[in-house]
């Protein structure tokens, strides 16, 4: 059956990584789930650019972090954090669309 990342991940968060980037962490409860999601290829550079509607050049890092059972990626902001008009100075609420990503075969 299909489950969402909201069901499968312990932590899904976003936060500033310095003043020019926002980093996203998706941390799983256990290694088996982490490996399954990795294999399912639902969380990749391509799926992220499609979901957020951004070009690949906006992604500075994409890492599968085995010691933390986590998938992590980082994007460049279009303007530094806290510039007038920036609605999320800490970058703390940009993760929400990830929660609905569907993972088949769970």
């Amino acid at each position: 059956m299909t489950k969402t990342l909201a069901e499968l991940a312990k932590t899904v968060r976003s936060k500033n990584a310095g003043v020019d980037k926002i980093t996203f962490d998706i941390i799983f409860y256990d290694r088996a789930t982490y490996e399954h999601v990795k294999q399912a290829k639902v969380l990749t550079r391509d799926s992220i650019t499609a979901l957020y509607g951004i070009p690949d050049s906006r992604i500075s890092d994409f890492v599968e972090f085995d010691p933390g059972c986590a998938i992590k990626f980082t994007i460049y902001r279009t303007a530094p954090s806290g510039s007038a008009g920036d609605p999320d100075i800490f970058g703390a609420q940009q993760y929400a669309p990830l929660l609905g990503i569907e993972v088949p075969g769970m």
Partner: protein, 453 residues
């Protein structure tokens, strides 16, 4: 010293108060040092640019008092980094005066108070640029230009372990640091006592945010790190928190682009081959980090410059037709501001809550029509008067927006306030760069005095 223990009670001292219960447990564990970082660039460019703190002085004093009294009672040094959110000279001076006042208030026995400054004068960087030195951009930024430098109000250089180690060698009992890498607060005493650099920087990395490396989630609780020549052990002090393999490894990711590397002045901590081991329910042991010295010693510079004064307005919209056409209403209001001010220098920003207020262009959800929305209007201009007028026209003209088929012709928006409000001036991060220096003390001058003599 076979091993060294250090406690960290707060990951951003002043931003919210430390929790005294777990701090007391940590102090009873007889640490060799008590340390806390007090800075962050997360708070946006306003505090650095305007040289103010975002943290209330009452909360800063609360934590400094708890830490100072514990440090003097058990006779171990206390180290604070990035004083007052930004680590500017004025914030260091503020913390020094708080420490001196606390020493008097509690009639503390004499102790050595050390500090260092981190402000970088613009003249120094202007001279560097003019002589052809590269002030290199980080995170995709171009090299610093004279124009961008002139747009900057305040610059700090991020120290590594070096000024802390110098002050520890001189016998400082309390250190108030200017801007520094968070991890330097904890790595410095470990390196000072001869522990391996790699493990020392790892110790700093894991302790810098206090209980963020523990689970379940709960900030501002004390954690204890212990370093030996072979490993680092980190233990949660709150009775209901644990440092687990998952929480400690997970913390390596926090707030950084890449979980394997941490860049500090003078080198890079590599956590790729870290091994994590649960040694008791609340303690995780870490081995295997490495440290690579940088080929050239470069320090990171942070700079912020004022864009203008700022006023904000807020309107609500309930008419479904208006909600569907809110962009046309915004265009109308923008046009009215343009007609008033022409090509004069100003900024006008609209944030549409209920549609894409939080995520802007990155919002993927466009398939539902909200039943009500709020629009935040920000006007930024060189003077207070002009900023107020930009924001006022930009807000009030939403009321008069001309939509062809609107039924409600008595006003297109709901005002919760019939005014615009003064906000902090708008600043922006002008510097996120690095600059080559001969050594880690060049930009960070140290000072030492005896307090209470």
């Amino acid at each position: 010293m076979k091993s060294m223990k250090i406690i960290s009670p707060n990951g951003h001292l002043g931003f919210a108060p430390l929790k005294p219960e777990s701090f007391a447990i940590g102090v009873d564990a007889r640490p060799d040092y008590i340390g806390a970082d007090s800075g962050s660039d997360d708070v946006g460019p306003v505090p650095l640019g305007s040289d103010t703190s975002t943290s209330p002085v009452g909360w800063q004093t609360h934590d400094l008092e708890q830490m100072l009294l514990a440090s003097r009672r058990i006779g171990v040094p206390m180290i604070i980094g990035s004083a007052g959110d930004t680590g500017t000279n004025s914030r260091v001076d503020l913390y020094l005066s708080i420490i001196r006042d606390l020493a008097r208030k509690h009639k503390l026995s004499p102790f050595k108070l050390g500090w260092y400054y981190s402000d970088v004068p613009k003249d120094r960087l202007r001279a560097a640029i003019e002589s052809g030195e590269d002030v290199a951009g980080l995170d995709g930024r171009p090299s610093l230009t004279l124009e961008e430098l002139e747009a900057t109000d305040h610059i700090v250089a991020m120290a590594g372990v070096h000024p802390y180690i110098k002050l520890l060698r001189q016998g400082a009992d309390v250190i108030i640091g200017g801007r520094s890498s968070d991890c330097a607060v904890f790595a410095a005493p470990a390196i000072h006592h001869g522990f391996p650099e790699a493990l020392s920087y790892y110790l700093g990395k894991v302790l810098e945010c206090a209980s963020f490396c523990a689970e379940p989630y709960g900030a501002k609780e004390t954690v204890l790190g212990e370093i030996s020549n072979e490993d680092v052990r980190v233990t949660a002090m709150h009775p209901d928190q644990r440092c687990t393999i998952a929480s400690v490894a997970g913390h390596a990711m926090y707030e950084r682009s890449n979980p394997f590397f941490e860049y500090v002045a003078g080198g890079r901590l590599d956590m790729t081959h870290c091994n994590y081991e649960q040694v008791d329910p609340r303690t995780t042991r870490i081995t295997g980090p490495t440290f690579e010295p940088a080929p050239q010693f470069r320090v990171k510079l942070e700079g912020s410059g004022k864009v203008g004064e700022r006023y904000v307005g807020l309107v609500g919209i309930r008419d479904p037709y208006s909600i569907a056409n809110v962009d046309r209403m915004i265009d109308w209001a923008k046009q009215q501001v343009r007609e008033r001010f022409g090509n004069a220098q100003y900024e006008l920003h609209y944030t549409v809550y209920g549609r894409d207020g939080v995520m802007g262009a990155m919002e993927p959800k466009h398939d539902h029509a909200p039943h009500e929305i709020a629009v935040l209007v920000q006007g930024v201009a060189p003077t207070k008067e002009m900023a107020e007028e930009v924001a006022l026209i930009g807000t009030r003209q939403m009321f008069y927006a001309r939509l062809p088929e609107v039924k409600g012709t008595a006003g297109s928006v709901a005002f919760p306030l019939d005014e615009v409000m003064r906000a902090s001036p708008a600043y922006r991060w002008t510097l996120n760069h690095t600059y080559a220096v001969p050594d880690g003390l060049t930009l960070h001058q140290t000072h030492l005095e005896t307090v209470g003599a």
